[in-house]
Symmetry: D2
């Protein structure tokens, strides 16, 4: 009885994290209806997970695409929420089938997979979206608008930290295991959170560093993948910056922070307190912006009624629903292939620089 | 295709606030499906609002109850999200029809209406829930558990403030107008936010003040209803406390805060930073509790991924879904008639005390 | 070799707290030189305390006043830092001798003593200062200036809390013992910290409540003096307010906070973070003022180099040095007899109201 | 009449900043008495500055040392508070004369001057102290104790930021001018605040990085000296770290922050809120330590009565007074020649690495 966009999902079976997040995000504003899925590579788990959600279950994405295409109420978009190395195959198949893709980040596990997705997207009439959810938060959108209109003047200094502590020890879990496996994840902290930090800096500043110098580390003894990376940035404009990501910063839960300094002012933001944006106009008191000042209206409740991570994700889904319904007004604020490729380039450049003992590498 | 509980709604048409919140809360965890509604007393708005949501529209709640009862997929529960003076009629009708009620707070506009609802609830097999959403937030549930297990010792001091600034001027809006009208709202700040503060203190401490002394004010010139109230509390145990609510505390968005002090420790919480609970054990450093310490598991994402107001509301809806499905494990943490009556008593006692120049009034 | 003002002291021997604070405050800016004292009523302690400070020791204040008067380099001012009930005698003796008095708060232990001091001050050419040190902090002085120039419009709501936890248990110490003894202290939390709260509200707003209603408590079993008080305020202007003081608010160290709301904006300040003043202009983002915005220049170091409690005290001593040197520019910001009498009236009115079960009492 | 240590001063005339700070620090605890000085290289300013302080004025430090040596009450120690390039000459002269030196940081403007001071110190019976004041703050001393006793386990990550905004524009002032002049300052942000950050990291962790990689910048067009530097650190233990210092981080006042992560916990501290130390034991809630937990007792007032920058400086002066009086218990926490030389090495290595495009340089 509704006009919701029928959505399929690849990945996200019982025990997964990000699949559940995508489902809530799709549901929150009532713009999508999850109707089908290949929720797991384990057929039994796929079926039981689908049953508990009341959706159609398929053994593989090829079958889903084929069978759904035959239904009048079949899926029009697919959320890809698998481990990194399993993004490329379903995404490319969807794009070839003309089905829009909503893909979790990073784009892929390897540059080759990333290139293949990009090629498929270029050849398709379907759209490709990458869920860099933090850039959909209201105060980040406001920060971007402030930078664009000159509120901090000429950009001089950028610092983005993304600090977590959940891999401080050699933990094992469904979430941790594939992220610690180079074959499935491609890279560790660089891929999982580094690409968020990279995209956030790009999104808000509108600038991409020209070269970077990195020290990528495996801090926990025996770990096979990077769990800490410190990256220095140089912009063509002369601005300097840094990205520091860590999954062994014990005590941090999800410590993503952004600081920008320009010739005329500064901006400060922290994800764990995401509804505050500090703007310091040069020579004046700091101003505490809240959603009352967000001109993107990326929220549902009045200021002071905290929205957060899930609503940020839902903002993306809502924008995507607009776009899929033909309203392209906000196309430029939804990350897609370009953001995905840039993130992959960041990972590779950081790895190369670190391998060369910190040599500066061009982006 | 789903097993969601079919939900109806009274109120919540275009331009309403809390109706939209209830809809998101019902949708978030996928436990309810809104299928029918009397979304407005204006038939045209009711119909167009329902159409945009893709649900069945009814001209009045009597018709909805009758027609839905005739459908195999008819509503099993109704959310009442009208102005205060319009809670009693639909709630009582639902209860008489054996339909569960999820009612926004306060219980009613007058003690008489409240008593009538209570009587209907007592006579019905259906359940009645009151959406005191703040008490469904994870760290509040953890605070309650901590108090219950003695973490702060014997309760000595309680202070709950609920400060907003949106009525600082003589604003007019759909939200403001009925809240400022004594006929529709019953009371002003006392009803709209005072009952939240009252219930929160009760919920976390497990104690109800024995008597109160109040100074209830109309601060904005020309206002017909209270916009500020300062209430002193005395508990039978000897504990003292205070509730301060204001809608003219300029600059505050939704400043609900709770502070408890006992013989062995203290707890501090603020709604606008709802995922932090400060626990100070006597003689030791303050501890910053996050969802990582919440033992009620009232959340969907890992600590550090902020959830907030909508998720708190959704926690209530999720608990209600459990209860309606026969799982009563969490019945005691979902507010119902008793909480509603207690809130009405708080309003009346505060008005009486203030009218008697602050005389202490027994609860 | 210096031109410092020779200072005497009554009280402040080994083990005392506030005497040491006065000495540091007098020393910090190099405007006073402590040269003589009656540091203790115990002659041996008095002598040894004076010896360790390298100052002249006297057995009693009468002898000190007489002998110092005979010296060309004798004391010109005396700091009175005894328990409350021992303020009146030395203060009156100094005033009669034409020696300026710097007296710790509250003015006295009883209204009768207070009146006697006031009478002596009125009859003397010497000056009387009361060290309400918090009102000498730079951001408090800036807050006062902002209120005076209309930054928050017409005052509507005032709340001053002063919460400490050090008397949560039945502790015994030199500091605690006299404060818990009604004979020496006069009143408990009301006198020790309530008068600070009262003076701070007056100082910043420029208004004095017309009537108050109080609930004064002895929370700790067996305590002979108030350790918690909740006071409601009504201003002649229609503004409402509250003062809450407690010494059993476990976990608080020195939690003095001030919040003001007017028709056009709000101000927020907390002593434990005293170099931040939040100003919220109505409808605009909150502004975080620092010493960079303090126009009273009541500091020694650039903003960002924290000054605090001792420097606040030293600001008073520095202003007093100016006044004693004939520069009266800042006379109005140094508390004196009027502030002392007002504080005594606050204590008595709060006690009377509470004894009458919260009846409103005129100030 | 006092037993205070007679102190001389070189530098610190009217208009100077740090000289006044040293004077207050020396005065605060009454352990020193400033009696003589060469307060300026401008004889008139020197004389008038001395007169206003009531101290003996000398035209040059040689004369001061000679004449004071002839007095029974002559100076026993000298505070050197000149611009960096003027540290060496007076410091060496004092050391040769057997007069203890309290020197502001950095040690000198050039490595050659630094070496000369070190040589003189080694050859002298007099002591040399370097006022890295931040390491004398109580919670920093507590942090050091916590690290030493294993509270965070094996050190893994270190980040010290020191961010100021006062040189965002091309300002001119007595403070700014010499700091922006390579001849007087030696280096810019690296020397002025970088050495503080470097020393703080060393002091708290007890470890010195083995190699560093730097990007040292002149952000403001036309500036002749570094105003921003980003330095990556590698420790022999495998720990990684970073120091970021900037004087163009607009909006920052004195933003010195420290974060340490180990295998078992983390510590967080910020100078502008210096009386809070966050300790996160792995897997447990963060603990907010205050002075109530400081076991070094480096303070004068109870917790909650903010002390800060001046008191931190005074802690150094107090420790120095102890040492000069023969009490060496706290010798290890007062920075001296070794800290000074290490700071100079940090500056040179950062400059070398940056000149070699970020090549890692051994310390």
């Amino acid at each position: 009885m509704s006009t919701r966009i029928p959505l399929g999902m690849v990945g996200g079976g019982a025990g997964a994290f990000i699949g559940g997040v995508h489902r809530i995000a799709a549901r929150l504003d009532g713009r999508f209806e999850l109707v089908a899925g290949v929720l797991s590579s384990d057929p039994e788990r796929a079926a039981s997970s689908a049953a508990s959600l009341g959706i159609r279950s398929y053994p593989d994405f090829e079958t889903m695409l084929r069978d759904e295409a035959a239904r009048p109420d079949g899926i029009r978009a697919v959320a890809v929420v698998t481990p990194n190395h399993l993004h490329a195959a379903p995404a490319i198949a969807c794009l070839k089938a003309g089905i829009d893709v909503i893909c979790d980040k990073p784009l892929a596990a390897t540059p080759a997979e990333a290139a293949a997705i990009a090629e498929a997207a270029a050849a398709s009439t379907a759209r490709f979206f990458l869920t860099h959810n933090y850039s959909a938060l209201p105060l980040i959108r406001e920060a971007r608008a402030l930078v664009a209109e000159g509120a901090i003047g000429k950009l001089r200094l950028v610092q983005v930290n993304y600090l977590q502590g959940w891999l401080t020890d050699d933990v094992s879990s469904k979430q941790a295991d594939w992220r610690k496996d180079p074959k499935q994840a491609g890279a560790g902290a660089l891929a999982d959170i580094g690409t968020h930090a990279w995209q956030l800096a790009q999104f808000v500043t509108g600038e991409t560093p020209a070269e970077i110098s990195a020290d990528v580390s495996r801090i926990v003894p025996g770990r096979l993948i990077d769990d800490d990376a410190r990256v220095a940035l140089r912009y063509a404009s002369g601005a300097k910056g840094g990205i520091w990501v860590s999954q062994v910063a014990v005590g941090h839960e999800n410590g993503l922070t952004l600081a920008l300094y320009g010739s005329e002012g500064a901006l400060h933001w922290a994800q764990e307190n995401s509804e505050r944006l500090i703007h310091v106009p040069k020579g004046q008191p700091a101003r505490i912006l809240t959603r009352a000042q967000d001109r993107s209206h990326s929220y549902r409740t009045p200021p002071g009624h905290p929205e957060g991570y899930l609503e940020g994700f839902a903002n993306l889904y809502s924008d995507i629903a607009d776009i899929l319904s033909g309203d392209l007004a906000h196309l430029d604020r939804v990350p897609g292939i370009a953001a995905g490729l840039s993130g992959m380039r960041f990972i590779a450049a950081a790895q190369d620089s670190s391998a060369a003992n910190g040599t500066w590498v061009r982006i």
